[in-house]
Symmetry: C2
Subunit: 129 residues, 2 copies
């Protein structure tokens, strides 16, 4: 399979697939003309990575997940731990963003949003205390 077909099948841009090869996530063979030749196993790895990325796992996490996936004698606890730690980070991010959202929407609510220059948003950002 050529890279374009893999892109269509996995949903990943060709550019990204080449990048994944560059960083060693996938190692397609090469045809005599230099084109990458993807095996079914290669495509499965890429699809797997695409799914993991969509859940917000980092490339490094993906590397570990692929290794666990390919390791027949893995312990599900290891996968779970990885996912758990990632979930934790997501929850932290959500909390941070929700705090920002709360502050921002308060400020926006208090801002007249007219042609006058007085603005509680700027006042708050400029607050030295």
């Amino acid at each position: 399979m050529n890279i374009g077909d893999v892109a269509a099948q996995s949903g990943l841009p060709s550019k990204t697939i080449r990048y994944y090869e560059e960083i060693g996530l996938v190692k397609p063979a090469r045809d005599p003309n230099g084109y990458r030749s993807f095996s079914d196993a290669n495509v499965h790895v890429l699809t797997f990575v695409a799914h993991a990325r969509a859940l917000g796992f980092s490339i490094d996490d993906c590397r570990q997940l692929v290794a666990l996936w390919e390791n027949q004698s893995r312990a599900s606890a290891d996968v779970r731990a990885l996912a758990q730690s990632h979930l934790q980070q997501i929850e932290t991010k959500i909390a941070d963003l929700e705090a920002m959202r709360a502050t921002l929407s308060d400020l926006i609510r208090d801002c007249a949003g007219n042609t006058r220059p007085d603005c509680p948003i700027l006042e708050r950002l400029a607050d030295q205390s």
Copy 2:
């Protein structure tokens, strides 16, 4: 004021302050020995930027916010629009993260997390459908 004092006062690392000078957010004078010399106005800008960054505004947003702040004849509507659009992005991010969280916690809940290799998390990631 030297950079160390400004760092202490603004809460920003010296490194970051130097970076902000490099990208033109702040333009401190220089002492004869080459040290940066920050005016009160410089420090106010940096504090302002620190606050805006803490609310998740991008550097580019910060640039515009500082410009509005320094413009006596600004319209509060312009500030509000900027904040509104930023809030929108934050809400999108929160929604994305919440979707990830939902999927992830379902998967984690279904994973035994023991020494056996069978794992619904990996199964889901590997799912071709």
